[in-house]
């Protein structure tokens, strides 16, 4: 059973990863990905919005798909919503498996789908102005390969 969380406040990615590793001693490998708010130009803040009835259920369905497709000992998916600043963690995905290839593939599968078809809307604050971020074509290309 995957551990899937939508966090509305900053989370400690290091502590979450350490706890996940401790909970899955039988896994020979853990692959993790941490996404953080990029320090870029004049961007002062990033805000993610979600739609409660769909966002977390969508993340849970995605995790279940990955668990059905690869042989995993455990799966952790944490995604932020709300206001963030450069350096803040946005997303942490960790896949634990007996064999590393399953863990690498599952983590990448989850990330590609979170980036392209999860229920989040994003806007950034630069020079005092908020601007909504539109979908990127690359994100759709990223899921086409799965």
């Amino acid at each position: 059973m995957a551990d899937v969380r939508l966090e509305l406040a900053p989370f400690d990615s290091g502590a979450a990863l350490a706890a996940f590793g401790a909970a899955h001693p039988q896994a020979g490998g853990i692959v993790s990905f941490l996404g953080q708010v990029r320090l870029e130009g004049e961007v002062e803040a990033l805000e993610l919005r979600h739609f409660a009835p769909l966002t977390l259920p969508g993340m849970e369905a995605l995790a279940a798909t990955a668990e059905a497709r690869w042989l995993l000992a455990g799966l952790l998916v944490i995604h932020r919503s709300g206001l963030m600043h450069p350096g803040d963690p946005i997303v942490l995905v960790a896949a634990a498996a007996r064999h590393r290839r399953d863990a690498f593939a599952a983590a990448e599968f989850i990330m590609d789908h979170l980036k392209s078809d999860s229920w989040f809307w994003k806007r950034e604050l630069a020079a005092g102005q908020w601007r909504w971020i539109e979908p990127r074509a690359e994100d759709h290309a990223d899921i086409a390969r799965w």
Binding site: F51, A52, P53, D117, F120, W121
Partner: protein, 80 residues
């Protein structure tokens, strides 16, 4: 009363994240849109905008909104 929710950039178009609309009874989507400024109504049915009634994705075809319903307009996601 029905509650309209505007997600993402649609919030800026609407000028607010939500709007309460008094309905006389079950109202087709077109009737709901008629009550809104034309520019906003067009943005709400632009390609890629999905709708959820009471938290469940629905097709705009044949959609009827009733008293107490919540209708959310979901523009294309920008990804996590």
């Amino acid at each position: 009363m029905a509650m309209l929710l505007f997600l993402g950039r649609l919030e800026d178009r609407a000028g607010a994240p939500q709007q309460v609309l008094a309905l006389a009874g079950p109202t087709p989507l077109a009737g709901v849109l008629d009550r809104l400024p034309a520019e906003l109504a067009a943005a709400l049915v632009a390609p890629g905008v999905r709708m959820a009634r009471n938290g469940t994705l629905v097709s705009p075809q044949g959609l009827v909104i009733d008293d107490g319903d919540e209708l959310a307009f979901l523009p294309p996601v920008s990804g996590g």
